[in-house]
């Protein structure tokens, strides 16, 4: 059936046919070998891909579907195996909860605040790194240092830097006469502070992705643009950006998905706040809200409902970006 299979199987069987006078056992062995051979060629692709799909089914697909099932039940953390049918109760409770809508808003604002500046800066930095320069790999590796830092370590450091009374950032602003800013309980200030952690960790990574895409842009495009009298800025605007469109879309999708899942930063930004995301829930993201409902308030069923809402949001995001990329491809 498979073409590789038949092509590869040909020599042994042809050989068998060319020399007909052989002892019967030899012949049988030959046949057996060629049959084993064919089976091997036919089945091995499935053997090679099966570990991935088995693990994915067990730890990805099944839990995702089971989450939907669990979201229709009353399940408590104290007895996670006892499930009591509840219909859509978890969902209606969710939509009545002010903190759910709050976390939705927080997730959205944090996504915008962290993704937009991060990708713009990454684009600019990639453009600079694309020049011929000394120490190019030093810059690239140094920009990856935040990527190698964990959410936990990074957030703990930034939580200190953003301290109201003794934090280094307020001290620095104080040198210019700015009053102490309350980074941990302010509304927008805390959101900005948390976004900077995300931006700090991921800008270098995205820079490298843009740089890779820029290096793949054919160079004659720039040369002909230069011949047409395009300035450096115009070359960037009319050659680089259009060539990078698929990559830009890719990074936007990945960063958006990442920011829908924000969890560690808001959890650890203020020690002692627990999972509430600040004194007034200013930075309680959907991920944190899920954790609070499931593992602090012990309502696993409601946590499952939140997970499914998150999933639907991601699906909508996926469809929107899919439509955008289709439109881009057409134009």
């Amino acid at each position: 059936m498979t073409q590789t299979g038949t092509a590869v199987d040909a020599p042994p069987s042809a050989e068998g046919g060319a020399v007909p006078k052989r002892p019967a056992t030899e012949d049988r062995r030959q046949k057996w070998r060629s049959r084993r051979y064919r089976w091997d060629a036919k089945l091995s692709p499935y053997a090679f891909i099966s570990p991935f799909f088995l693990f994915f089914a067990a730890f990805g697909l099944f839990p995702l579907l089971y989450t939907a099932w669990a979201s229709l039940h009353r399940v408590e953390l104290t007895a996670p195996t006892d499930m009591e049918w509840a219909g859509l109760h978890n969902y209606t409770r969710l939509f009545e909860d002010h903190f759910f809508w709050n976390s939705l808003w927080v997730t959205f604002t944090l996504a915008v605040l962290s993704t937009v500046p991060q990708l713009l800066m990454a684009m600019g930095l990639a453009h600079l790194l694309n020049y011929k320069m000394r120490a190019a790999s030093f810059f690239r590796v140094a920009m990856l240092a935040p990527y190698a830092t964990s959410v936990a370590a990074a957030t703990l450091v930034f939580a200190m830097l953003y301290g109201r009374d003794y934090g280094l950032i307020n001290w620095f602003f104080g040198l210019f006469g700015v009053d102490e800013i309350d980074w941990k309980s302010g509304d927008w200030t805390s959101k900005i502070a948390i976004s900077t952690i995300v931006i700090w960790r991921w800008t270098g990574y995205n820079t490298l992705i843009y740089l890779a895409a820029m290096q793949a842009v054919p160079h004659d495009l720039y040369e002909s643009a230069a011949l047409d009298g395009a300035s450096r800025w115009k070359q960037f605007r009319y050659v680089t950006i259009p060539s990078l469109r698929p990559t830009i879309l890719f990074t936007v999708v990945v960063s958006t998905i990442g920011s829908v899942q924000l969890f560690g930063e808001p959890l650890l930004f203020e020690e002692g706040a627990g999972a509430s995301g600040g004194p007034d829930h200013q930075f309680q993201t959907l991920g944190l809200y899920l954790y609070e409902q499931g593992w602090r308030n012990l309502h696993l069923g409601r946590a499952a409902a939140i997970a499914w809402v998150m999933f639907l949001i991601l699906v909508v995001i996926g469809i929107v970006f899919g439509l955008i990329s289709r439109r881009l491809r057409k134009s």
């Binding site: 059936m1 590789t4 091995s44 991935f52 190698a148 270098g204 890779a212 002692g272 499931g294």
Partner: protein
């Protein structure tokens, strides 16, 4: 601007124009050279990238009292090892580092092995539903693990795996990205004739994998291994649910440091530093390969 004036005269002789453009266009690739401003901006951003890490070390080397004074310390003090010792004993850091190495190592090994096998099949073999299955793999990259935590937690609770390392290894032991990454690499790096030749010589699939695929894939396997190790080391959401402070990974242990009655900031920073140093070391040793891996994966992605 300069480009504009230099290339504007359409009537200029081609030879002359070329010579004038030459110094700007640079050598073979024709890439432009970086100016002083470029270096300045890049140095500034490098400083911003590194500053929080350097400051972690500074804070870790001070006392908690000193950190509650203004101005904040900007240079190292002499308390680093005392703080590290406190973090080590308070947060179970020794066990945490051991556990994390084990977990990240197992996840990296699994992702590389299974990713190479599946990537090879998708890159070079023909089989039914191949394109459909590959689409499924790519689709699964979009599903974040947060969505499955509730049933996973229920499952490990039932299996009595809470606090057991397998509960944080198994869900991450394969990755769609790993399959995709290896597939993209092997399509180019492994000539199909090589496999066919081995098959003609009578090699079984296992032999082909061992003697042809693995050697060809080795550079990409190394890069994928490092990328996965970094990600697994830093994984936070699932371990904090599945593990407790009795048997933590580094990320779980770090959260316990901040939870004292009077949190000792210098000890917290010492713990953060301990948890980050192994990866910074990895970056220092293999930075170029890791950068290359990210960039390689990006273009193909």
């Amino acid at each position: 601007m300069a480009t504009l004036t230099e290339t504007a005269p359409e009537t200029a002789a081609p030879a002359r124009r070329r010579r004038r453009r030459a110094p700007k266009a640079g050598e073979a690739g024709g890439q432009q050279r970086a100016g002083k401003l470029t270096y300045a901006v890049l140095l500034l951003f490098t400083a911003i990238s590194l500053f929080p890490l350097i400051w972690t070390a500074i804070a870790a080397s001070r006392t908690n009292e000193r950190l509650a004074e203004t101005p904040p310390p900007l240079w190292f003090g002499g308390n680093l090892f005392a703080n590290m010792e406190t973090a080590w004993s308070d947060a179970n850091m020794g066990l945490a580092l051991f556990n994390t190495t084990l977990v990240a190592g197992a996840i990296a090994a699994g992702t590389v092995l299974f990713g190479t096998l599946a990537g090879f099949a998708f890159a070079k073999l023909r089989f039914r539903f191949k394109n459909l299955l590959m689409l499924l793999v790519i689709g699964t990259m979009m599903v974040p693990p947060q969505l499955s935590v509730v049933p996973l937690y229920m499952a490990i609770a039932k299996l009595e795996w809470i606090d057991q390392l397998q509960s944080v290894i198994l869900p991450f032991i394969v990755s769609a990205f790993g399959v995709f990454f290896m597939r993209q690499y092997l399509i180019q790096a492994l000539p199909t004739e090589l496999i066919e030749a081995a098959r003609v010589d009578g090699a079984s699939s296992v032999r082909v994998i061992w003697h042809v695929v693995f050697p060809a894939a080795r550079p990409a396997m190394a890069v994928l291994g490092m990328l996965t190790f970094v990600m697994a080391w830093n994984e936070f959401f699932w371990p904090i649910i599945a593990l407790t402070q009795e048997n933590p990974t580094v990320q779980v242990a770090l959260t316990s440091l901040g939870r004292g009655y009077i949190p000792d900031q210098s000890v917290i920073m010492a713990g953060a530093l301990l948890g980050t140093l192994p990866l910074l070391l990895l970056l220092l040793l293999f930075g170029k390969q890791i950068v290359g891996g990210i960039m390689h994966g990006a273009v193909k992605g």
